[in-house]
């Protein structure tokens, strides 16, 4: 018992101090404010940062834009991940399965920055790869942000769906087939309902990772601002305000997690 205790001390301290500690520090900082000359942090607690967030419409626009981007990325990833995961789990031979799942995971070993910069070179207009090859490109802007984030987070959607499919007995598919259902009817009425918790679990990753992004949007977003960009821009000059704005995605994710708790998706994370 004692040994178990000492084994757990490190990880518990890690979670308590670094994880909760930084969240609490973020939250507390968000209630401070800058003095009038804009230097340092006034040690006076107040809600001025939140009042400013509530009053200026630009921040509302940024929050809405970020949520919409995160939602679009999630939807695109669901539609891409479902057939890929289904093929890997149910159709591919065991040997091909290993190769394919490795192929899905390999991009995660590459640096985020390198991938984002690569997309910058692909999407640029007129000098980018896409434009030179196919004669058109969306260029930098909001569509580019959605494309790049959907690419970056796709493995986080494929893996839970693949895991969910592994747990789906083949006999159910066969039974459905025997009863006369075609592929699409089986997919729609048997596979998707049973996979729903896995899809929601994947969406937690794609949604939350998109909510916090600020690098992809800086590299391919053109003039687009997301929550992360505004936090980054204020981080250097107005830390308390940046902290206040950074609590917004935390709140959005709390609401999101509360909403999906009943689906059982948290079991699939």
């Amino acid at each position: 018992m004692l040994r178990l205790g000492s084994l757990l001390t490190g990880p518990v301290l890690w979670i308590v101090v670094l994880y909760f500690g930084s969240l609490i520090s973020l939250f507390v900082t968000s209630f401070y404010r800058l003095p009038d000359d804009g230097i340092g942090i006034t040690e006076k607690l107040g809600t001025s940062n939140y009042r400013e967030l509530a009053s200026a419409s630009v921040y509302h626009d940024v929050v809405i834009r970020t949520v919409v981007i995160a939602a679009l990325v999630t939807i695109i990833d669901v539609f891409l991940a479902l057939p890929i995961a289904f093929y890997i789990a149910k159709i591919a031979t065991p040997r091909a399965r290993t190769a394919l799942i490795t192929a899905v995971l390999v991009p995660l070993w590459g640096s985020y920055l390198v991938k984002a910069f690569a997309w910058r070179a692909i999407l640029g207009s007129p000098g980018g790869v896409l434009n030179k090859t196919f004669g058109s490109s969306p260029g930098y802007g909001l569509p580019a942000v959605v494309i790049v984030l959907a690419y970056l987070w796709l493995p986080f959607m494929i893996v839970p769906i693949y895991a969910g499919l592994e747990r789906l007995p083949d006999s159910l598919l066969e039974a459905s087939n025997d009863l006369g259902a075609g592929f699409w009817l089986t997919f729609r009425t048997v596979v998707v309902p049973m996979l729903f918790p896995a899809i929601v679990a994947g969406s937690v990753f794609t949604f939350s990772l998109s909510m916090g992004d600020y690098i992809a949007v800086a590299l391919v977003g053109g003039p687009t601002q997301m929550i992360g960009s505004v936090v980054y821009a204020n981080f250097a000059s107005n830390l308390p305000f940046a902290a206040a704005f950074a609590t917004v995605p935390v709140l959005v994710m709390v609401v999101y997690l509360l909403g999906i708790r009943r689906t059982g998706a948290l079991e699939n994370l």
């Binding site: 308590v16 909760f20 500690g21 609490i24 520090s25 507390v28 900082t29 401070y32 800058l34 003095p35 009038d36 000359d37 804009g38 230097i39 340092g40 942090i41 006034t42 040690e43 400013e52 200026a56 630009v58 921040y59 626009d61 910058r120 070179a121 640029g124 207009s125 007129p126 000098g127 980018g128 260029g139 930098y140 800086a218 590299l219 053109g222 003039p223 601002q225 505004v230 821009a233 204020n234 981080f235 250097a236 000059s237 107005n238 948290l266 079991e267």
Partner: protein
């Protein structure tokens, strides 16, 4: 499910306990971090500066032995060690001479540099005027004994004892070099050479979506400078000392510009690739971006528009918490020596602070092109400065402070 619930309940309890004890410790940490600044008021910069020095070391009277290491924040191109281009390297020589191993952290914007200096992990910084005043006011930099820098005497007199590098009769750094922010354009696409900043502020621009602007609140001064001559009735004198009406006019120009901007840049390498690819064809730039892009065969030109330009006059400053102050003094002496000044000025594309460098630059016209010794020209470039309520140009106490510039910048980008 049951075990999950219990785990969740436990973590909530732990979380609540932590809020009780954690918030206390956070507050103490914050207090110590900002102790030097908490009491400062807008008009008391000299006294804050003094309070900053009380805690820090007294003015050094000699440069002691090197500490073997030096951590500095620099603009891209100011402290090159050959990693960008093997032929461009003056840090290695310094390391050999001084025995100080140099770690360079590139600062992309003045705001970033200010933030990095607050961490206390750096010995010095090449600060522009929109960071240096804040650094002095916040007590983050120490006064410098210029007598210990043997090259200081050679530095152009119009760069010495300026509001952005001194306070209350004390010097807070050594001038490094200066220059203007140019208007750059792609000469393949933009066939009529522009002569006014108006082309980047035109909301009906034919180059819609291909215009760039500097992604920092200080860029509002560029719009103010343009309005100074485009709308003289506003009565703008100094683009960093704006009344609310003048400020609103500049913000409105920038909100119109937002519709034609393809990308805001704050990272010089990102801006360079945008110009090289042609996704951006026009906008404000630094000479170094032009130099790097043209080296990659981009068809670009720069002009200094008729309105004049904003610009920078940079200062090497010593952190008040420097762990390697001797190495920092050696660096300041080294970087202002004629030979090194010549290398930096030629590579970065700016006027050297030390005019003795001019004779050593292989391009003999360099100092003429950058008007390095032209005091009247230097006075016409509007060097970056931190706007504050007490107007920098002494015109009153009703200027829009920098905190408002920051908020406006987010609103401009939308």
């Amino acid at each position: 499910m049951r075990t999950r619930r219990i785990a969740l309940a436990c973590s909530t309890v732990v979380g609540l306990l932590l809020t009780a004890c954690g918030s206390d410790s956070t507050k103490t940490a914050d207090t110590s971090a900002s102790a030097g600044t908490a009491s400062s008021s807008p008009s008391s910069s000299p006294s804050t500066a003094t309070s900053g020095t009380d805690a820090g070391p007294v003015l050094p009277t000699a440069i002691g032995a090197g500490e073997g290491s030096l951590d500095i924040i620099a603009w891209a191109g100011y402290a090159e060690n050959g990693s960008t281009d093997p032929a461009t390297d003056w840090v290695t020589q310094f390391q050999k001479d001084s025995g100080c191993k140099v770690n360079v952290k590139i600062g992309n914007t003045s705001d970033e540099m200010f933030q990095l200096m607050q961490s206390g992990a750096f010995d010095g910084v090449s600060a522009s005027g929109d960071a240096s005043v804040r650094l002095i006011d916040a007590g983050l930099v120490a006064p410098v004994n210029t007598a210990l820098i043997k090259n200081y005497a050679d530095i152009s007199s119009f760069l010495k004892d300026q509001p952005y590098n001194s306070s209350d009769g004390k010097n807070f750094g050594i001038p490094h070099g200066w220059g203007a922010n140019y208007l750059m354009y792609n000469s393949d696409v933009v066939t009529t050479a522009p002569d006014s900043w108006g082309v980047v502020f035109d909301k009906a621009s034919p180059y819609k979506g291909k215009i760039t602007a500097y992604d920092a609140p200080i860029y509002i001064a560029d719009a103010a400078l343009y309005l100074k001559s485009a709308k003289p009735e506003l009565g703008i004198k100094d683009p960093y000392s704006l009344t609310q009406a003048q400020f609103d006019a500049a913000v409105s120009v920038l909100k119109d510009q937002r519709a034609v901007v393809g990308e805001y840049w704050s990272n010089y390498a990102v801006s360079q690739t945008a110009f090289e690819q042609g996704s951006i064809v026009m906008g404000t730039t630094w000479q170094i971006i032009y130099n790097l892009a043209v080296a990659n065969n981009a068809k670009l030109k720069t002009v200094l528009p008729k309105e004049g330009a904003t610009g920078w006059s940079d200062t090497w400053m010593v952190s008040s918490k420097a762990k390697h102050p001797n190495c920092m003094y050696m660096w300041m002496d080294y970087i202002t020596s004629p030979d090194v000044q010549a290398q930096v000025a030629a590579y970065f594309g700016e006027a050297p602070a030390n005019p003795k460098a001019c004779a050593l630059i292989s391009d003999k016209t360099h100092c003429d092109v950058f008007k390095a010794t032209d005091e009247a020209f230097a006075k016409s470039v509007h060097f970056w400065a931190t706007p504050r309520k007490k107007c920098l140009d002494g015109s009153g106490d009703n200027c829009v402070p920098f905190s408002e510039w920051i908020k406006a910048w987010t609103a401009i980008k939308g």
